[in-house]
Symmetry: C2
Subunit: 760 residues, 2 copies
């Protein structure tokens, strides 16, 4: 059936494009303004739009329905090809950021200026975060189309690079990153050798050893046993020439704990493994098969002493033959800095949550509006989105990316400024001891926030994809509608770079400590804690716990919808503190601590959203109807999660059962039809091109059935042996036309007359 011949224009049912266009034409809110709100500022909006257009237009980077269902082998190669293409964009992006397209070739000069040609310190113009900001955004947006590409390259740029930047001396950073070219994906391709088969979260117990050899002034890297095999190492199986190895530093038989080393793996020219390095492919994974995760074993692999990253711990060779080597270490900074390699990933995953969540929100919204099923006799069937249950299933999920956006942009800014500060105060030329104390505190808060937001949002988006897939019925199960691969690719975010449960526990334990300090000793840093931990302000804690009532949360004022989470957090922390007091066992409340981390994240999200929207300057929203719609989104998000956690809210007496029944739930139900009216403009406002959505039931024109059918027929052409006749059809015709196997196989030897003879 061709498109034109199969549409009955007069039909009242099954005209999804009419329905979706209709909602658009009736829309009262300003999609452009809301888009700016979501993209944080007009400048960032322009940049995001430009980058998205470039990505979906690029012949190598773009994806279409052929993207689904590729083999591991194909995905690996496609991903490598995309990385090659991205290296071109990278040069371009750095030149754009530096506004330098003329004269000397900037990138070449950048690389050369830091090598042996270096004349004096002032010639250095090292790359800063802002120089790579465009490219980082490009990668971040590409994650939405093909997450594995960003990760495979991100392991090199982010994990390997950040490990060197966080643990290397300035000269080591310059050499590996700039002179050798790692920053530009040249000369070196790095991987990140932290995890082992036997140890993931417990980094301190990693078993790989780096033993110092005084005679040769070298380290020997060893994998002492099978569980010490480096495992899951992204890029190791196929790509990496070097590895940032986390290994136990052993000097003179003494174990100094886990430090980092740059260890060569392959010859960058031939790609052959070096001697004493054994590498294999981890193989098939649930998702992201374009990433070549591998395992690595080292068998007496010798590297120069100078390959140890020595910003905070350094081994000095013996001063004389037969003498002893010495080790200088700053353990605390070492640790902070060691873990900072993972920070970037966590921060980026919050931004990913915004983007990836919005992609599936769009698909499910358009399907819910275009799809009709059941309804009163004699009328067009009802649009799914007009069922209260469907509204409840879809609309709160759409609010999730809305609520992630402000906090994601804010977290990214804080991350960049804090890391810049750390680099500055810990550099020899600009060393600042007092500044180091402050930045250490900031880093600690950043750890808490990023851990809690990473865990909470990666979980929320995993749930969002799952729920919205179900809301698209059978079509959600088709690979071409993106949910399946989307889910499989996504959920690893809940495990890697800090398991969500471990991260939640660790952030919640810190919050509980802060709570105790604030409550008991009034310790509260208005400079550093006021932002994320405002609910721990001593006076607020006192008020909330004193009243014994619901702290007058009536859900009548806009601030209430964030403040209620602050009240809940204090009550909940108090409840947990009492339990711990009586049991003296922090582990036994672990299940509750995971919730504290979630509540903390939800509160941060609501607060950041409130602050942004409440500020005419930051929100960029002047249109009243749009602002109202955005406040409805805010309220819906808060109410949905209060209702989801109504068990805790009642248990800690923020709300009575009656308030849940008569305030929370009716408010939630009343909001749904309101937000429903704006569902198409609210999802259009993400301004995501079809090429990035890559799911025909979610395209802009709303022509669900034709778009979907077109992709299916395109990807499944008529079989060569005849339409609908598979290559293996002989198996089937033989089956259907067979004789009775047993009878034949036995040659009739079970028949009565034969058995009679045999039995004689």
């Amino acid at each position: 059936m061709t498109r034109s011949s199969t549409v009955d224009a007069a039909s009242v049912t099954l005209q999804p494009q009419k329905l979706i266009q209709g909602e658009r034409s009736r829309a009262k809110i300003d999609v452009d303004q809301i888009n700016v709100f979501l993209e944080s500022s007009p400048e960032k909006r322009d940049q995001a739009q430009a980058l998205m257009t470039e990505l979906v237009s690029d012949p190598i980077l773009k994806t279409d329905s052929s993207y689904y269902g590729r083999s591991k082998r194909e995905e690996r190669e496609d991903t490598a090809r995309k990385i090659v293409r991205l290296a071109l964009y990278m040069e371009h992006d750095i030149k754009t950021a530096r506004k330098h397209f003329k004269g000397t070739d900037l990138v070449e000069e950048l690389q050369r200026s830091e090598g042996e040609d270096l004349k004096n310190e002032s010639d250095l113009v090292p790359l800063t975060n802002s120089d790579v900001a465009i490219f980082d955004r490009r990668l971040s947006l590409l994650h939405n189309m093909d997450p594995q590409v960003g990760t495979r390259l991100g392991v090199h740029l982010g994990l390997f690079g950040n490990c060197i930047k966080g643990n290397g001396t300035n000269e080591q950073i310059r050499y590996w990153m700039h002179e050798r070219g790692a920053t530009f994906v040249k000369g070196i391709y790095g991987c990140f050798g932290m995890t082992e088969l036997g140890h993931g979260s417990n980094v301190a117990q990693l078993q790989t050893t780096a033993t110092y050899n005084a005679e040769s002034d070298t380290f020997t890297i060893n994998t002492p046993n099978l569980p010490a095999t480096k495992f899951w190492i992204g890029g190791a199986a196929h790509s990496a020439t070097h590895c940032a190895v986390y290994a136990r530093l052993i000097v003179d038989g003494r174990d100094y704990g886990v430090k980092t080393f740059v260890v060569p793996l392959r010859n960058p020219e031939t790609h052959q493994l070096l001697a004493n390095v054994v590498i294999g492919d981890i193989g098939q994974k649930m998702g992201r098969n374009g990433i070549d995760n591998g395992w690595i074993q080292f068998h007496n692999h010798v590297i120069p002493r100078e390959y140890m990253l020595s910003r905070f711990t350094k081994v000095f060779p013996p001063k004389s033959k037969g003498g002893k080597a010495t080790v200088k270490t700053q353990p605390q900074l070492d640790q902070i800095s060691g873990y900072s390699a993972l920070l970037s990933g966590r921060v980026n995953m919050v931004m990913d949550s915004f983007r990836f969540g919005s992609r599936f929100a769009i698909i499910a919204a358009r399907y819910a509006v275009g799809r009709q099923q059941f309804g009163p006799r004699g009328h067009p069937e009802t649009q799914l989105i007009d069922y209260p249950l469907h509204q409840y299933r879809v609309l709160p999920q759409i609010t999730v990316p809305y609520l992630v956006s402000p906090v994601a942009f804010k977290l990214l800014d804080t991350y960049y400024s804090t890391l810049d500060e750390l680099y500055r105060v810990s550099s020899p030329a600009t060393f600042d001891k007092a500044g180091l104390v402050v930045v250490s505190k900031k880093l600690k808060n950043l750890f808490i926030d990023s851990a809690s937001l990473k865990a909470t949002n990666t979980w929320l988006v995993a749930d969002l994809i799952d729920q919205l897939r179900q809301a698209c019925g059978g079509q959600g199960y088709s690979s071409y509608n993106a949910f399946g691969k989307g889910y499989d690719d996504w959920v690893v975010q809940c495990t890697w770079e800090g398991d969500n449960n471990i991260l939640s526990l660790s952030s919640a334990k810190s919050i509980l400590k802060k709570f105790a300090a604030s409550r008991r000793d009034g310790i509260f840093d208005t400079g550093l804690d006021a932002e994320s931990f405002s609910y721990l302000e001593p006076g607020f804690i006192h008020d909330v716990l004193k009243t014994g009532q619901n702290a007058e949360i009536t859900l009548e004022q806009l601030p209430d919808y964030s403040r209620v989470w602050a009240v809940a957090l204090v009550r909940f922390l108090d409840h947990i503190a009492r339990l711990v007091d009586s049991t003296k066992d922090l582990d036994s409340v672990a299940k509750l601590l995971v919730l504290v981390s979630k509540f903390h994240a939800l509160h941060s999200m609501l607060k950041a959203y409130y602050d942004k929207l409440n500020s005419p300057q930051d929100s960029h929203v002047s249109d009243a109807a749009s602002k109202d719609a955005l406040w409805d989104v805010y309220k819906l998000f808060s109410l949905y999660f209060i209702d989801k956690h109504s068990g805790e809210f009642q248990q800690i007496k923020v709300f009575t059962p009656e308030e849940i029944s008569h305030t929370v739930q009716p408010q939630l139900l009343n909001l749904l039809p309101k937000v429903r009216k704006a569902i198409i403009p609210l999802t259009d406002a993400f301004k995501m091109p079809d090429g990035m959505i890559n799911a025909p039931i979610g395209y802009f024109d709303g022509d669900i059935y034709h778009n979907y059918f077109d992709e299916i027929t395109k990807q499944n052409p008529t079989e060569v042996d005849g339409a609908g006749v598979p290559p293996y059809y002989g198996l089937l015709t033989d089956l259907l036309n067979r004789g009775w196997e047993f009878d034949h196989a036995l040659g009739g030897s079970a028949r009565a007359n034969v058995l009679k003879k045999l039995g004689k």
Copy 2:
């Protein structure tokens, strides 16, 4: 590294097999008795064990790590090959069930006896449910290893077959199923043509037409428009020769609604499509790619009138030329019977939930015991399962398959007996009008129970797989450990054969009606309703609602743990009924109705488990310690879900906030370490062979790291271009050794001296 060289026998850490074996040797409970409890009876246990052994030993049917990561094309062919193999087992299983291996070939005779050779009615020995019971169990168990095989064959045997059995006359059943051989996967391969692109749940609005042609006494089957395309039809793309088509019966311009027709699609000998039949492949899906789901369009496809399935609706040709055809119909029976094709699937999915859930429970339990991470300095690292949070994450999930088992076996029995009864009372020879009324009521209850249990348990197991994958950290994300494919294959169960939300709504609406009838009019059928709807007994309702208190649920007695759900159901239904009274809008409480269905299922599961374990005869458990462990499982399941739904339990005042804090949650936390002690025997008790588990971190010997590493190296052999050198390595070496592209590409034409010239 070879196995022996890499194990440090003296090492105190990372010896998972020692840990797991240690738990086994310390176990105090009787794994054999518990296995009988889970398998329902000693006879069924023996059968299940024998069938599992056969399945994992069969060279075609068995699966290993090579099973993960196959292409759609390979999965389709493998699945077909397995079906061919299964046809052999089928003959054998039927002969075993009939105890007939000698003399005439039973299966051949069965087929012939019902065809033209038929002499008199009494010669007929039609196949009954008990004749195919062994084979059905074989398929059900195979689902655990390779779900797609069972489904691909199940569409033919179950959906196509049940559609004919439910809607065909006895003669039609005999012809299509026995004489033509469909029952034996011979002659005919059927598919089930219900769903269309535009209509899934709303079967009554399907658009395909079957128009009666009086002149030729035929029907013309037509697909009037694109959304009327039959869609998702399992078996259509590659396998099916016939389709049970759901189409609107049009006679003399009048639309009689949706009826069923046997429609030929392909020539069974050549497998080529017939004229006027257009078929295509739906293509890549999230999971189960071995099933050849297709789409079908009919363009004036003519079939004889006699191909309409006419048990309840029949078209009679005009008595004279130019006269009018007449239609006789029994609409109500038609509808019951029409939907009954889907019942089998729903009932089987409850059994699948038991098996599939237990598979992942075993994997996660063994990993949790064998894996160590963190712990006090100087000691072996702590086993994951000794962390309270990990206990909370894993143990309640393990109770899920335990609680599903009794209700799954019970539901299957009820299904078989009810369908047998329906066949009997609606057959011309044994027609029984009064019996028909009773069986209709039974069917209705079966619809409610199976809908609620299907929806609830497929959701529970989807969550179980997801949660337990996360509990296995990174290794859970490896395809070889079964979670990824398991999840992708599983979750379609939440959508197909009745979307879980629609099923939940429909069962809850029926329950709400029963509640109203019982409360208002005292209508309660102690014969039919007492089993599943015991909580709707008028006296009980009265007591629960009268007290206004918690109906004295103290969670001190074993029955309390089921009874508390009965109390909650009544309170919840009362709460909903009040809301509906005030709003007059049933749709607005849909979200609560979904929970009613879930509560109903949880109550049924707890009650069936309680009844079974409480009966020495049914439980087959005489060992006291084992019985205690099984009661702990029961309590943990109940407490876990009370706590999960503590919002509702407080809101409807089954428990006060204080009772949640001081009874429910402490009881739950106290139970965890108790159940933890039995985790290995409790999961060993499923007695699932490694070949069915097919996940090396979950094998019986507990040698997690070696088993896992072995599979990875087996499935990912050394690359031909050199170890760790992928076929596409040139892309990578070119990238790393490139010059600066822009500079080169521009031939130096952006250099200052060139631009100076150009700018003149």
